[in-house]
């Protein structure tokens, strides 16, 4: 199968989970980022399914929706569960992080006034603490599923390493999750990805 092409802005945001999946398993792909000279998003938009990004091009066909893409790549590189029930567990964790928390975190940065931003931050922090408390109980070994890392672990790594620091949060009090994050940070492939990826704010 030819290499897939991932198209996104020069940011981590909604594409980084997929990039982590490829990096962790050492599978190559084309990591294409929009810019003002070579590839403007405004000009590329009409080729995408919904006029949005990220999109993944597989054998010439474009697919949208960041989480659909992440799940697909996880299946292809071997970061999904060993059975359907494990995939339910992974999905439960992904949804808690990206469907529940991510939008609340975005609200903090997109708030129109300082007052709105402050209220959004309080709400986000409350939900983050509640969710992480729940997720901590789901770690069933070195990683969420047991002895092997899956997309769920990369997801929590994405949140803790890239997103929550933007709110000034660290998750040290969650010991099992912190252990997952530390293990992944020590992984050679992840280390290399962290060193080589473009430095972006978000």
């Amino acid at each position: 199968m030819a290499d897939c092409k991932l198209y996104y802005f020069n940011a981590k945001a909604r594409a980084e989970l997929t990039r982590y999946a490829y990096a962790f398993k050492g599978v190559s792909y084309e990591d294409i980022r929009f810019d003002d000279t070579n590839l403007k998003f405004e000009e590329f938009k009409s080729k995408t399914p919904f006029g949005s990004a990220p999109v993944l091009e597989v054998d010439g066909v474009m697919f949208a929706q960041s989480m659909a893409i992440a799940r697909y790549v996880a299946r292809e590189v071997g970061l999904n569960g060993a059975n359907s029930l494990e995939n339910l567990k992974i999905d439960m964790i992904l949804d808690a992080l990206y469907s529940d928390l991510f939008p609340l975190i975005i609200n903090v940065f997109q708030g129109q006034t300082d007052e709105i931003k402050a209220a959004a931050k309080t709400k986000a922090v409350e939900s983050i603490q509640k969710t992480f408390g729940n997720l901590e109980t789901l770690v069933s070994g070195d990683y969420f599923l047991g002895s092997d890392a899956s997309l769920a672990d990369l997801a929590v790594f994405n949140l803790v390493n890239d997103v929550l620091p933007l709110l000034g949060l660290n998750m040290d009090e969650y010991t099992k999750i912190s252990k997952i994050v530390a293990s992944l940070r020590e992984n050679e492939n992840i280390k290399s990805h962290l060193e080589n990826r473009p430095k972006t704010d978000a």
Binding site: G51, F63, Q65, M67, R71, D95, K130, N134
Partner: protein, 252 residues
């Protein structure tokens, strides 16, 4: 050599090999392996359906975030325990058992799983409604997320938003996004249904979206005949009709 499909009757007539029609007294290892695969797949599907039938879904006596899951079961005509909170069985008393303090939860072999869309995908997968390849599942997921991730939260805010301002903003956002994705979804319909001839989670979530959301947003499918056809087919499906007309099915 004839290829075996899941629909073939799995019994030996006379002394004839099901696959190659040769004399089955001879060793037919390749034929046997094909039959085994079909038998295995059929057994697995049977097993899946049995596991699914033993599951318990817990939610309020409303559609909300459980309706999609109930529809999946209804479409495949698989019974399950559809537990709904009531005066005698209150959510507040049950809450501590759910992993996240939220519902719906699905109890599978004594373990509780949360997150309505994760549950929906699991049930769909087990009932054979997620496509038959990884790429097909990607297409299904893409369509499902376009509705459940990009639009559904705004629909919830139209009803449950804490201020009129929030409700109105949600309505605008939901309408805008829907107008944008309907033409895109129309292009994705590959046959009678999104993937072609088989119904998947994508069609079922679209069916609920058309029924519940479009009227609220004052939109319709007049300009999208393929999407209209999907919704019409599912509306006329015997199993879905049976479920929707059942007096115990939540109306809102």
């Amino acid at each position: 050599m004839k290829s075996v499909s899941l629909n073939d009757p799995l019994k030996y007539d006379n002394n004839e090999c099901l696959v190659c029609k040769g004399n089955k007294n001879l060793l037919h290892l390749y034929c046997l392996s094909l039959i085994d695969t079909a038998l295995t797949r059929e057994k697995l599907l049977e097993q899946s359906i049995k596991t699914m039938a033993d599951c318990k879904l817990y939610y309020f006596n409303t559609k909300g975030r459980a309706e999609l899951i109930r529809l999946l079961y209804a479409f495949k005509d698989v019974k399950f325990e559809d537990v709904r909170f009531s005066e005698t069985f209150k959510f507040e008393d049950f809450k501590h058992k759910t992993r996240f303090g939220s519902v719906p939860v699905l109890e599978v072999n004594g373990v509780f799983y949360a997150q309505s869309m994760a549950i929906a995908r699991y049930v769909a997968r087990e009932l054979g409604l997620m496509g038959s390849s990884s790429l097909q599942t990607l297409k299904v997921d893409m369509i499902v997320d376009a509705i459940s991730v990009d639009i559904f939260p705004h629909l919830m805010n139209i009803v449950w938003g804490s201020t009129d301002e929030i409700k109105n903003a949600a309505r605008t956002k939901a309408t805008e996004t829907t107008k944008k994705i309907l033409p895109a979804l129309e292009k994705m319909v590959a046959g009678d249904y999104f993937l072609g001839s088989e119904v998947t989670l994508a069609d079922i979530i679209f069916f609920t979206f058309n029924n519940e959301a479009l009227p609220v947003l004052e939109l319709n499918l007049d300009e999208h005949p393929k999407l209209f056809k999907i919704s019409k087919s599912l509306k006329e499906n015997e199993n879905i009709k049976k479920y929707l007309t059942n007096p115990s099915t939540p109306q809102k």
